[in-house]
């Protein structure tokens, strides 16, 4: 399996998953025309990584908008990682939010609630990359 890279668009997030590093990054806004089409390769990649590499996964999420379909897909990703964690896999999730964006902080809190994964909520200044 190779590095998974998807360029950011107005409607979809940037995806950068490192097969060697186990660092999975997603950034931007997500309201794709067809969420299933967009997220399917991402699920497949993670499933394959979990079954073949079995190393630590660090998921860095820097999102500023999610529509409902994307939220469902993102919750499924979290569930997938939670199952991996329950089976002994090491998983870190970092949820980055702009320091003045309370809605995205709340979204991060929703993701963090009621899951066995440690989801770290990390603020950043909006002009920081």
């Amino acid at each position: 399996m190779k590095h998974l890279k998807i360029e950011q668009t107005k409607y979809t997030v940037r995806v950068d998953f490192g097969w060697e590093t186990g660092i999975l990054e997603m950034e931007g806004a997500s309201y794709p025309e067809n969420a299933s089409d967009f997220y399917q390769p991402i699920f497949q990649w993670i499933k394959q990584y979990i079954s073949e590499v079995k190393k630590k996964i660090v998921l860095n999420l820097k999102l500023n908008y999610l529509n409902t379909s994307s939220t469902k897909c993102m919750l499924d990703i979290i569930d997938l990682l939670e199952d991996y964690h329950k089976e002994g896999g090491e998983v870190d999730v970092n949820w980055f939010y702009a320091e003045n964006d309370e809605d995205i902080l709340e979204t991060g809190e929703e993701f963090a609630e009621d899951t066995e994964l440690d989801i770290n909520l990390i603020s950043y200044k909006p002009d920081e990359k």
Partner: protein, 262 residues
């Protein structure tokens, strides 16, 4: 949205629930077959309960996140509306500024010519001619040379005030350039325009321009050239005629009103 697009959208949304749909099919299959043992049914029930719990948790989270994102959109929309209003106000201000001569606050050339064009449209509808009066302050150069540019500006500002206060509400007063002023007098024929210009000329002649930094009062006069727009020429032609009349007045000895031929 037409039916095809609607069906497509429904199928797209259903695609993200494929795992839940498969589970549902499996459960229905178990329910329809009576051959399963009690133990198998219990296991299926437990599995279904777990999946249902998982889905319910997801739905609750999705609802909250959806609400949170709606607030975000609403707040962004309000921000956009506010910015649109600010932009609109700034545009109005800019438009106003771009039509005013900054020193005298009279219409500048652009604004005057737009109003001239508007008056031509009115003429085309009602056939009523109107007058254009071009004025030039006599010996203005000597004011600047002898008393400085501040004094020159003072004269221009006060001249603008006199012109503005001497015309009717519907008349347009503009600064044409330097020490030149221009008036648009709707529905005033050449004779009417000439009479109005003569009244203003006398007013200026009798006015004392007392620039505070100078001890002596200044006597300022102006020469006017008047032309009539009656459809025989265009904007440029009409202003040119007023300009030629103005310079005929200057040659005649200044401080007078000269009318162009119709």
């Amino acid at each position: 949205m037409n039916q095809n697009n609607r069906d497509k959208k429904i199928a797209e949304t259903a695609a993200i629930y494929v795992r839940e749909s498969q589970l549902m099919e499996k459960i229905q299959e178990v329910q329809t077959k009576n051959s399963h043992s009690k133990e198998t049914l219990l296991n299926e029930y437990i599995l279904l309960g777990e999946e249902y719990g998982k889905l319910l948790r997801q739905v609750i989270k999705m609802t909250r996140i959806g609400d949170s994102n709606q607030r975000k959109l609403f707040s962004a929309n309000q921000q956009i509306e506010k910015q649109k209003e600010e932009l609109s106000r700034a545009y109005e201000k800019l438009d106003l500024i771009s039509r005013k001569d900054p020193l005298t606050q009279l219409s500048n050339r652009r604004d005057f010519l737009e109003k001239f064009q508007y008056e031509i449209h009115r003429f085309e509808r009602n056939g009523k001619p109107f007058s254009v009066v071009l004025g030039d302050i006599d010996d203005f150069k000597s004011v600047n040379d002898n008393y400085g540019h501040d004094c020159g500006d003072f004269v221009l500002v006060n001249m603008a005030k006199i012109l503005k206060s001497s015309v009717r509400k519907q008349d347009v007063v503009g600064r044409w350039g330097g020490e030149e002023f221009i008036l648009l007098l709707p529905e005033a024929l050449l004779a009417g325009g000439k009479k109005a210009a003569e009244g203003i000329r006398k007013k200026i002649e009798n006015e004392t321009f007392f620039f505070k930094q100078q001890k002596i009062p200044l006597s300022i006069t102006i020469t006017f050239g008047v032309s009539e727009f009656n459809g025989t020429t265009d904007i440029d032609g009409c202003i040119k005629k007023a300009d030629e009349a103005l310079y005929a007045g200057k040659r005649k000895g200044k401080n007078c009103v000269a009318a162009a031929s119709k």
